[in-house]
Symmetry: C2
Subunit: 244 residues, 2 copies
DNA sequence: TGTACATCAGTGAACGCGCGTTCACTGATGTAC
DNA sequence: TGTACATCAGTGAACGCGCGTTCACTGATGTAC
């Protein structure tokens, strides 16, 4: 009967999501959610620790929606990591515009350090996208650096759009910022002579990262890399120096 | 005695600002503000229409602080409009990091269309900065376009910083985004051959805008421009086409 | 200058509300023998 | 298969609190004659 319990939780989250989308985060009170879900307050408290717990799960629910959309849309495209960066940007912005209240809950930066843990999954997706670009020798800067810059810019573009009256929203600003920021992070082509050294160093670095974090499950860290941990660390430091 | 009334209001806003900075926007309740200011609730209601009015004035207070800082800092630098763009970015980000709760109130995008009216002044400052760059022939895109892109990116960089734990904040992401975005909007030099046409067209466009909006107070619109309004409008449309 | 009146900032007290949360209890489901 | 017991999701009702806001009133200040 754990099945039914989970289904009931899910249903409550669906109801809470509806309240959130229709009335913003203010509309999501424990009493309103319980009433809308047709259960009593103590029943809600049996499902979620407290209001913070409910909101955390609601944010996670939003990230699930977001990631499902994004994975599906990106799965449709051929395997072009740079094109995926552009598509990823647009998908992010589009999600924010279609679900502004969710977006504020997920990315609205309530308090410092108060970021919902589910955000890590979305972050990981961007890291993976950029990791693939690095694998293909298309990245001009380390993955982590590119992640930070793109994340900040995407968030800014989306929040700016959300802040505008729906009638006067204009996607060209987002597109311009997208093109500028992504261009600042990739190289035009893997074989372009000048920065070849840098992008190849970063491609190797990304491959090392992949090998270190996704090796055989049973093995310890670094099992897929035939170097000692300290050697690998030093190598990666050199690679980053070569890159920039 | 209107003097004393304004001083009292000012004092209440100072107290509210302290509550905001120390406890975030949740700490700013009408009761808490009244108590901290040493006045009774109805006295507060005599000064401000209601809570929304208080918050609006508090946001305006924040913009005053911000603009005073920014004007002072920019007044110290020599007259280099492009350097001012870089300094303006850093001043914005720095203000946000030093006053996160104010920043959220001012730029946190509560609801669509719910932007505080005082934000227009800060917006106008950025427009003026970019207008000067255009005057100097250093802008590659129309002022309004540059404003939107820079605003979105700055906000994103600042909110990303605010969302991080203070100990792990790293300004290099902001700096990188700043350099990328500003570079995408300016030309390296006014005399650089290739894009000279574009930047000169935009310089003229900016000068027309200035003449149209800051002409002799008594005169009607367009008093400083010896063309009919329709002619000016068409001219500016052509200039924008030349620019891009 | 002195009195009568109007204005209005500020007081003490209370309004009603929605909130998050918890209490004691019920009734259904599952488990042990 | 039948009885006794344990578990636990859910109920009805209430807790206390802080909130935004307003009431009737006071006392000081300003104004008119």
């Amino acid at each position: 009967m754990n099945e039914g319990r989970r289904a009931a939780r899910r249903q409550v989250l669906r109801v809470a999501a509806k309240l959130l989308e229709e009335g913003g985060s203010e509309a999501v009170s424990t009493r309103a959610v319980a009433a809308a879900a047709g259960i009593t307050a103590p029943a809600l408290y049996r499902m979620f620790d407290d209001k913070d717990g409910l909101l955390a799960e609601l944010a996670a629910y939003g990230f699930e929606m977001y990631l499902a959309e994004k994975r599906e849309a990106l799965a449709l495209t051929p395997d072009d990591p740079v094109a995926d960066l552009y598509r990823g940007w647009d998908l992010h912005v589009d999600f924010g515009v279609r679900h502004p209240a969710f977006y504020m809950l997920m990315y609205g930066t309530a308090r410092p350090g108060r970021r919902p843990p589910a955000a890590d999954e979305a972050h990981a997706l961007l890291v993976r996208l950029l990791g693939r670009a690095a694998d293909a020798g298309r990245l001009r800067v380390p993955v982590e650096q590119a992640t930070r810059v793109i994340h900040a810019a995407t968030t800014g573009a989306t929040l700016a759009l959300i802040g505008e009256e729906p009638s006067e929203r204009d996607l060209t600003t987002s597109a311009r910022l997208r093109d500028t920021v992504i261009a600042s992070v990739i190289t035009d082509s893997p074989a372009s002579s000048g920065s070849d050294l840098a992008s190849r160093a970063l491609a190797l670095d990304a491959a090392l990262h992949t090998a270190l974090t996704t090796g055989p499950p049973a093995a310890g860290a670094g099992a897929g890399v035939p170097l000692r941990d300290t050697e690998t660390a030093l190598l990666r430091e050199w690679l980053r120096q070569l890159a920039g």
